[in-house]
Amino acid sequence: MTTQSSEAMNEQFDRRTLDWYIDKLVEVIVFISGISAIIFVIGIFVFVTMEGMGFLFDSFSFSEFFGSEYWEPSDEDAPEYGILALIAGTASVTGLAMLIAIPFSLGTAIYIAEFSTGKTREYLKVLVELLAAIPSVVWGFIGLTIMNPLIIELFDVPVGLTVLNAGIILGLMAAPIMTSIAEDALKAVPDRYREAAEALGATRWQVIYKTVLPAAKNGLLGAILLGVGRGFGETMAVLMATGHAVNIPGSVFDSVRALTATIAAELGETAVGSEHYQVLFTIGIFLFLITFVINLTADLIVRGIKNQ
């Protein structure tokens, strides 16, 4: 009798330990998954650095790499790897894109968050979300087939694949994402701020300009920075729309070549482990570090408002 009941009790106890073990096992599994993001970010840095290491340690010269505008990797006698022109290409396209995307995305975000109401707001939000979903290769295709002849005709220039083309494409591409983030930042401003200002007799625009925008300042800055990061890292669209010519642009009608596009265009042609191959990975490290810094800054700025 007594043994039976204690056995039964044991059994009960066993079942509970099983659940307890499962619970612990799950905790370990989800913890490992939880830190996977950290592992992957470190992994990206390590593996990209590993492939580019040969060049970094052997023949890397800071002044030549960043200071020379000659990107001549296929010159057999004296290949030259200067990314200055590529940086200028990326910077000019991203800069023009931001000139377009920043006012438009902020304006759209303000309209959606502060002026529109009800159904209109819902529709606009959905539309913006759908715009953000268009793949970058489709944007590149649009730049190549629709924008290219349009620019040639409108401005009477010989080539339409230019800073202007890629800048517009990239601006249209980055704007929806920036709009969503900026709108979130505006929504995060408590309604009592608006109510207090309205109670003082302020018009809607005065409420926005004097109260909402200052309160959402950091979030909006974060949105802009993330847009810059996106522009910097965009690959397919700039590969197809810039004209892909190594060149420091003098005007928006010049063709350029971007850092990302160079990797995309040349990685397939290089022999694994060759110097050219390693240089492309070195550019990858550079891109990784830049976007890392941009994202980190955006995060610190956005977090700044939360701590206030």
Partner: protein
């Protein structure tokens, strides 16, 4: 002086300043509306152009035949199938991993520097340029792990790239489940995992699904990460396993636009239309699903 002495109409007309401020307000309102329209309209026009120029080529045949004659004729079947393979395998990897990571962040992690580091890593993973993900895929999966350029290597690269989408959307839907639900379950003597499995996940499953559909759409359009890890320009046969290379719709659009000579003008438009149709369809399903959920919400 009594109130009657004041002219009545002055009580109800607005001051000069008020009129001016109202004018400024409507001016800005119109300005921002114009900006919104200027942002949205060009894209709608572009989409319209795609439909007009490529629409006539789209047919069941176009979707289910092979490209022939150096990719200048025929359909997109192998590319379509390749994209389905790549996306499915990427989902098989990233969805369980992403959900588990979100469970950790939502149910286990406490507010400290370590959790902040994880969140920062997620933001960074989402912000790393796609071409750097491609370099990582080449360095890690193609070379180091020896998968070669294969569906497996490409899918792994895609999975890691889109992991943040799953984590963020899943975490949001987990956190939307009221805390009282968990407490009620714990009070019944359930372990943490039992609570998550029986109470939290069932209540969050539709939100998680919305995020997964969104990820499908994101993964479908990616080109740079698969260019060097597993997708090829042209393949005369269909892939037989995860270690084979494959064609992909997004890369196919790049190829027929820039690499193949003598392509009929309509063909790239049609390919772009199929790709964008797939992506927008997935996105619309995800949005509709989310709206339906919001209207059904019980708490």
């Amino acid at each position: 002086m009594s109130v009657e002495a004041m002219p009545v109409e002055n009580l109800f007309t607005e001051s000069q300043l008020n009129v001016k401020n109202k004018k400024i307000q409507s001016l800005y309102r119109v300005l921002f509306l114009l900006m919104t329209l200027l942002l949205i309209l060009p894209v709608l026009i572009i989409l319209g152009t795609l439909i007009v120029k490529g629409g006539s080529m789209i047919s069941i045949d176009f979707l289910f035949t092979d490209p022939v004659n150096g990719m200048t004729e025929g359909g997109v079947f192998p590319a379509l199938l390749g994209t389905v393979f790549l996306v499915s395998l990427a989902l098989l990897i990233s969805v369980p991993l992403g959900i588990a990571a979100a469970i950790y962040l939502s149910e286990y992690a406490s507010e400290n520097w370590f959790t902040r580091a994880i969140n920062l890593a997620i933001i960074n993973l989402a912000g790393v340029p796609s071409i750097v993900h491609a370099l990582f895929g080449v360095g890690a999966f193609v070379m180091f792990f020896g998968f070669g350029t294969s569906i497996l290597a490409a899918s792994l690269t895609l999975a890691i790239m889109t992991l943040p989408v799953v984590i963020v959307s899943t975490r949001e839907s987990l956190q939307a489940v009221p805390h009282a639900f968990r407490e009620a379950c714990w009070n019944m003597g359930a372990t943490r995992w039992q609570t998550i499995r029986r109470v939290v996940l069932p209540n969050a499953v539709s939100g998680i699904l919305t995020g997964v559909i969104l990820e499908v759409s994101r993964t479908t359009g990616e080109t740079a990460p698969i260019m060097f890890t597993g997708a090829v320009f042209f393949l005369p046969f269909l892939p037989q396993g995860v270690f084979d290379q494959t064609m992909a719709l997004s890369l196919h659009l790049f190829v027929v636009t820039t690499q193949v000579p003598n392509v009929p003008e309509q063909l790239p438009y049609a390919v772009a239309l199929v790709l964008i149709g797939m992506v927008l369809l997935m996105n619309s399903i995800s949005i509709a699903f989310r709206m339906y959920l919001r209207s059904k919400k019980k708490w």
